[in-house]
């Protein structure tokens, strides 16, 4: 499609699988489950759908945006950084952001265009790219490509980065995007740990962040995952000017301190408070003091880390826990996918018109267990004789069927006079072979 999403239709998330109204959320006993609890949590799903939408978004062509730039097409201008408008980040050059599709691998990337630059030495670009593309840290947005192009009608420097759909800058997250995320002591600690991790990787590669402020740090996901973005481009602009790496690295520490202090100061309504006045714990204050100390020009990651060792373990803990959480959700959804396929097969073999006269599907036939199993899974009654569809029952049965466990079940004929005993494994084989023979 040339336009996505179609202009007339916004997605109606609330119609998808609405969460029950809050007053209905009675405390459940441990054995009780609601339909919601069996699937991916709505907020996580919504977030992921939005990310997918953001990735897929296509704008009508027009204006000055070129169709193809180098290896990239389908440019969609992004404006989340516009509001702050600090133009000095790139030595006074105007800069724009685009979401692009890569011609190389079809994936989505972020392209930062620095307008109207004058670069003549190809080595300026290649050496910068070489250095930055090697930086590998979970807290630094990866630089994927760097080139100079005239496709925009000027000489533009383009830096291409991994794209994090819906990621917003630290500033936007806490101060402009609705709903605002309140700043907490815990968030500050986890930002500190992650940004230290980022700086560590950058410094270790013989580089400096240089552009470190709350517009250049993006929040890419929960719980409070942050990344330094936009690295590398400014290194090119610097050109052959004399450059003191160590001094820049020391400045990074101060910038980190400033960033954190600015965030911390927003926790209270006081303005321009000193470090001592901040409503943060003492450990954090001493970290800030260390970072902001102008007299210490020998700061290093080692020293810095020793000030908050304990907090690193907290980050590890929450990160490992979240990993297990997403893995858990994922396995649930993967199961649902498998089960859906399984149900497709089951439905394909079940209830066919021709089976109504086929002796194999009669009571004495080989396919009879399939009919009984379908009944057993989907047509349950409760003890009072009422029809019920218990999704947990369906999930249990189908999961066992899919895994082909050796557990046996008793399937009863409609007249309740006879039964068949069969294992899930045998059932699975039966359904599988029936399906194969049908579709061959």
């Amino acid at each position: 499609p040339t336009i996505y999403p179609p202009p007339h239709s916004l997605l109606q998330y609330h119609l998808y699988a609405p969460d029950p109204p809050p007053h209905l959320k009675v405390p459940l006993k441990p054995n009780e489950q609601t339909p919601e609890s069996l699937f991916i949590p709505n907020d996580l799903r919504e977030e992921l759908v939005k990310r997918n939408l953001a990735s897929l978004q296509v704008f009508p062509l027009g204006g000055a945006t070129p169709t193809i730039v180098q290896d990239y097409f389908g440019l969609v201008p992004l404006d989340f950084n516009k509001s702050t408008g600090k133009k000095d980040s790139f030595q006074g050059h105007k800069n724009s952001l685009y979401k692009v599709f890569s011609n190389l691998d079809g994936k989505v990337y972020l392209l930062r265009r620095i307008h109207a630059v004058s670069i003549t030495d190809p080595a300026q670009i290649s050496s910068t790219f070489q250095a930055w593309s090697k930086v590998a840290s979970a807290n630094v947005v990866k630089l994927v490509d760097l080139f100079l192009t005239t496709k925009f009608g000027d000489s533009s420097l383009c830096a291409v980065y991994d794209y994090y759909p819906l990621a917003s800058s630290l500033y936007d997250t806490h101060f402009t995007c609705f709903p605002l995320v309140p700043i907490t002591q815990e968030l500050l600690w986890t930002y500190l740990v992650q940004l230290t991790n980022a700086i560590r990787a950058i410094h270790a590669s013989g580089l400096a962040v240089i552009n470190l402020d709350w517009d250049k740090v993006i929040v890419s996901g929960s719980p409070g995952r942050v990344k330094i973005s936009g690295c590398g481009a400014v290194d090119v602009l610097r050109g052959q000017e004399p450059f003191d790496l160590l001094a820049e690295q020391q400045r990074d520490f101060i910038k980190l301190g400033t960033l954190l202090k600015d965030l911390a100061s927003k926790m209270s309504s006081k303005k321009d408070s000193s470090v001592q006045d901040l409503v943060v714990d003492d450990d954090f204050k001493s970290v800030l003091q260390y970072l902001l100390n102008q007299d210490n020009s020998k700061k290093n990651i080692q020293q810095l880390t020793s000030l908050f060792q304990d907090r690193i373990f907290d980050v590890i803990n929450s990160s490992l826990t979240y990993t297990e959480y997403t893995e858990g959700v994922l396995s649930k959804e993967l199961e649902n996918g498998r089960l859906f396929r399984l149900m497709c097969k089951l439905n394909c073999v079940y209830g066919r018109m021709e089976s109504r006269i086929d002796v194999n599907w009669s009571e004495s036939g080989t396919k009879f267990p399939i009919t009984l199993f379908y009944d057993y899974v989907f047509h349950q009654i409760d003890t009072s004789g009422k029809n019920v569809l218990d999704l947990t029952h369906v999930l249990r049965c189908l999961n066992k069927l899919d895994a082909g466990v050796s557990e046996k079940i008793v399937l009863t004929t409609p007249d309740e006079m006879n039964c068949i005993m069969i294992s899930y494994k045998e059932l699975r084989d039966l359904i599988d072979s029936t399906f194969r023979s049908l579709t061959q």
């Binding site: 080989t366 046996k408 309740e416 006079m417």
Partner: protein, 755 residues
């Protein structure tokens, strides 16, 4: 007007849809995400959205698959002729009563709540209900009984709520509890009861005698008139018998029968084929018990054959092979295994098997013919014939589950009575007299009782006893059902109904119609040998250093009904209690601690020069492992009870028990402190009228006061300074009792108690 309609109609077309050029994808392509095909725009709630419901099935314990279905299933999965890979799953019988309507979501039961309810000790109102309210239900009277000891021990347990009959029940907290059902069964066979109890008139100190212990047990059950009894000593003897251990009959396991049998099978490593019949634990015990009793009877008096004549089936076994080989042997069995007519080699000709009663099963089991093809050429025929009709028929029933299904479908399967005669070396059984012809004597048999296995939905099982007793006063028979410590009187119709899915008879006793009407005689009918009260009967050689702290009774002092005897007993712990403890520290006693009598002292109470002088001070030897001597309380030290090393004069439990039993039987009145507990551990039920328990006289509210405290407070004596000594304790209790009588006479008892 040919084929065109005059009025123009608007034609409807299906929508032409362009979903794009989507290639078809195999359902097995797991690399194809289901979100590859997008959703259309929607402005209404999706169909896939779910209502606000709550699913309660997680955690539901699945109903175990019944063995009756399983066993026939293995036989019947057949290969389809046309394609060898495809199995046809044969239809099997579905018991709707048992499993309920098809595809029913099982209700969730929270085990934690069930435990809480049981721990609370509340007894449900309908605990004695023995008829199902709805189809398939197991009535509460047949259910699993709650633990009688719970958190605090069974002293406070309300056994009376479970038994409204005049007959005593057996508690379920000891070893081998499954045997109680069999013991209860024979207790209602008059000639068995009379013989076993009658044996008590003579002294017999043979160790581990089941005959003696059964005698004491039946005597106790008889005397207790409805109060709960325990088969502790019987079980302890059973545990000591090697043969019983070999057969896997003994267990200290407090759990259900199914588990026991499973453990047994696991131990024996028997491959149990689906159709192979295995005697149950109860049936094995039944056979073992009768065999053992008869052995013991013969051991005492080689000429005595009472039990053998009551139970013995004379068997002729013949082996015939086609190669003219012929063998014949004769033997006696005490229980007859009942198989289906088909298994006994009888083709049921013309008769619909569904209408049969137990009679063809019994008749064919008394003449069993079996042919086995040894090889292609030779067939061996086995023939087993019962040659007589003993007065008591003890039958072990062994049917497959499918055979039971057929039997249970006949309401009258369990015949209440029948007539039998021997004709041409073959037993003939008929429901009525007129169906029997011939010159041989005709016997009438009546159902005396049976033991049935009750199995729950979750496959836990237990044995219950149905007993039929002749009530002389009303000249009527009454039926009783015993389930552990629960007993009820039930209608005959209910007793004979074996159609319930959860109930399966295992042992059946038919008794000669005359025998069953005989009265039950208590031991008091006979002259009783009391010698042991007047002599020593040590088990070890008396060491020179041994100092006897008692003076034997003389015949002149022979105790009379009403004679006062002060006694005290000490115990050691063989096994500590077994309990469940949950993560919050809540404890449930599953099996109370097992004790053994270690010392018993009895003191003269008659005024005179010998007042307060002990006449019994027995130390009882114990050869099994003792977990805890509780020396501080028992005064018994390790080694004291060892035949080889002990410096004490040791006697056997049987000797001491008989002394106590004789004193009770004579009608002595026992004085002591905390006697009910002592008697419980000695395993004797003494009528309340014969007990003067000082612990009960000096109650503070509901709290028992210790002997030591009472001695200090009331008698100004310091006792139990070191370890306990049963002579001192018995004496102190005696003095305390006298003090009590004094205080009561002066009317100052209340005053003293409030002090």
């Amino acid at each position: 007007s040919t084929s065109f309609t005059s009025t123009p109609e608007i034609w409807e077309y299906p929508d032409f849809v362009d979903d794009g050029d989507v290639p078809s994808v195999s359902v097995d392509d797991y690399g194809y995400p289901l979100s590859s095909v997008g959703m259309p725009y929607y402005s209404q709630k999706l169909l896939s959205a779910w209502n606000n419901v709550v699913f309660r099935s997680p955690g539901t314990i699945p109903m175990p698959i019944d063995t009756s279905i399983q066993s026939s299933a293995k036989m019947q999965v057949s290969k389809n002729g046309s394609s060898p890979d495809v199995k046809t799953y044969a239809l099997m019988h579905y018991d709707k009563n048992k499993f309920g309507p098809r595809n029913t979501l099982q209700p969730y039961i929270c085990l934690r709540d069930v435990r809480k309810r049981i721990a609370s000790g509340t007894i449900p109102d309908d605990v004695l209900r023995y008829k199902p309210l709805k189809e398939g239900e197991i009535p509460p009277a047949y259910g699993k009984l709650q633990l009688s000891h719970g958190r605090y021990g069974s002293d406070n347990f309300d056994f009376q709520a479970f038994n409204k009959t005049p007959f005593s029940t057996l508690d379920t907290d000891g070893d081998n509890t499954y045997t109680n059902a069999v013991l209860q069964l024979y207790r209602f066979v008059p000639e068995v009861f009379n013989f076993v109890v009658g044996c008590l008139k003579n002294e017999n100190f043979e160790s581990n005698s089941l005959l003696t212990e059964l005698g004491y047990l039946y005597d106790m059950i008889d005397r207790s008139k409805g109060t709960v009894c325990r088969s502790t000593n019987f079980q302890s003897s059973l545990n000591s018998i090697e043969k019983a251990k070999e057969l896997g009959l003994t267990t200290t396991f407090p759990n259900d029968l199914q588990m026991l049998e499973r453990l047994n099978i696991a131990k024996e490593k028997i491959s149990t084929g689906p159709e192979r019949l295995q005697r149950s634990l109860g049936q094995k015990f039944n056979e073992f018990l009768l065999t053992r009793l008869i052995e013991e009877e013969a051991g005492r008096d080689a000429n005595s054959m009472v039990l053998k004549e009551l139970f013995g089936f004379q068997l002729d076994s013949i082996v015939r092979s086609s190669s003219q080989h012929y063998e014949k042997s004769t033997s006696t069995v005490l229980t007859l295994t009942l198989l289906s007519p088909a298994r006994n080699g009888f083709k049921s000709v013309g008769k619909r098997s569904g209408n049969q009663t137990i009679l063809p099963y019994l008749e064919s089991s008394m003449k069993r013919v079996k042919h086995i093809n040894n090889s292609k050429l030779e067939t061996v025929g086995y023939e087993r014939t019962v040659k007589n009709l003993p007065p008591i028929l003890s039958l072990n029933i062994l049917l497959t589950d499918s055979e039971w299904n057929i039997a249970k479908s006949n309401r009258n399967w369990l015949a209440k009575d029948f007539y039998a005669t021997m004709s041409k070396d073959k037993a003939l059984l008929q429901p009525t007299l007129k169906d029997l012809k011939g010159n041989s004597p005709i016997f009438k048999y009546e159902l005396n009782g049976y033991v049935a296995k009750v199995t729950d939905n979750n496959c836990e099982s237990r044995l219950v006893t149905y007993a039929r007793k002749y009530d002389r006063a009303s000249d009527q028979f009454k039926w009783y059902m015993f389930n552990g410590y629960l007993a009820i009187e039930i209608e005959e119709e209910e007793a004979l109904d074996i159609s319930y899915w959860w109930k399966t008879p295992e042992m059946i006793i038919y008794c000669d119609a005359e025998e069953i009407r005989k009265p039950f005689f208590s031991v008091d009918t006979y002259p009783i040998n009391c010698d042991i009260l007047y002599r020593d009967h040590f088990a070890n050689k008396l060491k020179e250093s041994a100092k006897l702290e008692y003076k034997l009774l003389t015949k002149e002092e022979a105790p009379q009904p009403g004679s006062l005897v002060a006694i005290d007993a000490e115990f050691v712990i063989l096994n500590e209690e077994m309990s469940d403890i949950d993560c919050h520290g809540v404890k449930t006693i599953v099996k109370p601690k097992k004790t053994a009598l270690a010392r018993l002292s009895a003191i003269r109470c008659a005024d005179g020069p010998l007042f307060g002088v002990p006449f019994i001070d027995d130390y009882i030897f114990n050869e099994g492992p003792i977990e805890n001597y509780v020396t501080k309380y028992s005064g018994i030290s390790p080694g004291d009870l060892d035949l080889k090393t002990s410096s004490k004069p040791l006697v056997s439990r049987e000797v001491t028990y008989r002394k106590v039993w004789l004193l009770m039987q004579i009608g002595c009145v026992f004085v002591g402190h905390g006697l009910s507990n002592d008697f419980k551990h000695i395993n004797i039920n003494v009528p309340a009228a014969q007990i003067r328990d000082t612990a009960l006289y000096f109650l503070r509210g509901k709290r028992y006061l210790s002997l030591r405290y009472l001695a200090f407070a009331l008698l100004d004596r310091n006792i139990q300074e070191g370890n306990h000594d049963s002579i001192e304790d018995a004496y102190t209790a005696l003095i305390l009792y006298q003090k009590y009588l004094d205080l009561q006479k002066n009317g100052t008892l209340e005053h003293v108690l409030d002090r």
